[in-house]
């Protein structure tokens, strides 16, 4: 994700994303610790489910299918 700091703040607030700059010597510049969820949105753009990175594909497919049946 990229944009101006203000654009990033707006989006992270909308989705409740936490991000914290970390000290590091990386050539990549400032590295961020950040929350790490996958968001399932419905057709109105509302957040309907949060998945962890470790959640199974099957669990996400089930969530998507239940929204399609709405």
């Amino acid at each position: 994700m990229t944009g101006t700091p203000e654009q990033i703040r707006t989006v992270t607030r909308q989705y409740g994303v936490v991000y914290l700059p970390q000290k590091s010597a990386s050539a990549a510049g400032v590295l961020f610790a950040h929350s790490d969820y996958i968001y399932l949105l419905d057709q109105q753009g509302r957040v309907r489910a949060l998945y962890a990175n470790s959640d199974s594909i099957d669990k996400m497919v089930d969530g998507i299918e239940s929204l399609l049946d709405d």
Binding site: L20, S26, A33, S35
Partner: protein, 152 residues
């Protein structure tokens, strides 16, 4: 012409050029990223066939202006990528460099990555050995989520 054909076949079959090194690599790939992304990452599995532990201490590539060993640390709900000084591979053991874990960061790519092209990478070990790899640029790794096919 014949030699060139043979070299092509060999590079396709192995995907990786193996030097005379106690450590071998397989399942190597570099993540394709859109041209706007300055960074990417390289992944592979290292197998230490020797009876001594080895430490990967550095990586080099002409594809990027800086190359670093990184890992991903998860603390509570936060995840964080962080550089590491070395990655140890125990005797007779293997270590996977994969998304969400150890990886080689390619920082400030010199030119956009082309799908199915190859990125050359050199791994340096603490004992002075090195391993040359030629990794294909792909959207995803060789065996991510094979067990998750969902049928109806």
């Amino acid at each position: 012409m014949k030699a060139m054909w043979l070299a092509l076949v060999m590079s396709v079959v192995s995907g990786v050029a193996q030097a005379d090194c106690a450590v071998k690599a397989d399942n190597g790939w570099v993540r394709w990223v859109p041209p706007v992304s300055p960074n990417s990452a390289a992944y592979f599995t290292l197998h230490n066939g020797s009876d001594k532990a080895v430490d990967v201490v550095a990586a080099e590539s002409d594809a990027a202006r800086a190359v670093e060993l990184h890992t991903v640390v998860k603390t509570g709900d936060l995840m964080q990528m962080t550089p590491v000084e070395k990655v140890a591979v125990a005797a007779g053991d293997k270590v996977e460099f994969k998304p969400g874990s150890y990886h080689v960061m390619l920082i400030d790519l010199k030119q956009p990555l082309e799908k199915d092209s190859q990125v050359k990478l050199t791994l340096r070990f603490a004992d002075g050995e090195s391993l040359q790899l030629a990794l294909p640029v792909k959207d995803e790794g060789p065996s991510e989520d094979h067990s998750h096919h969902h049928h109806h």
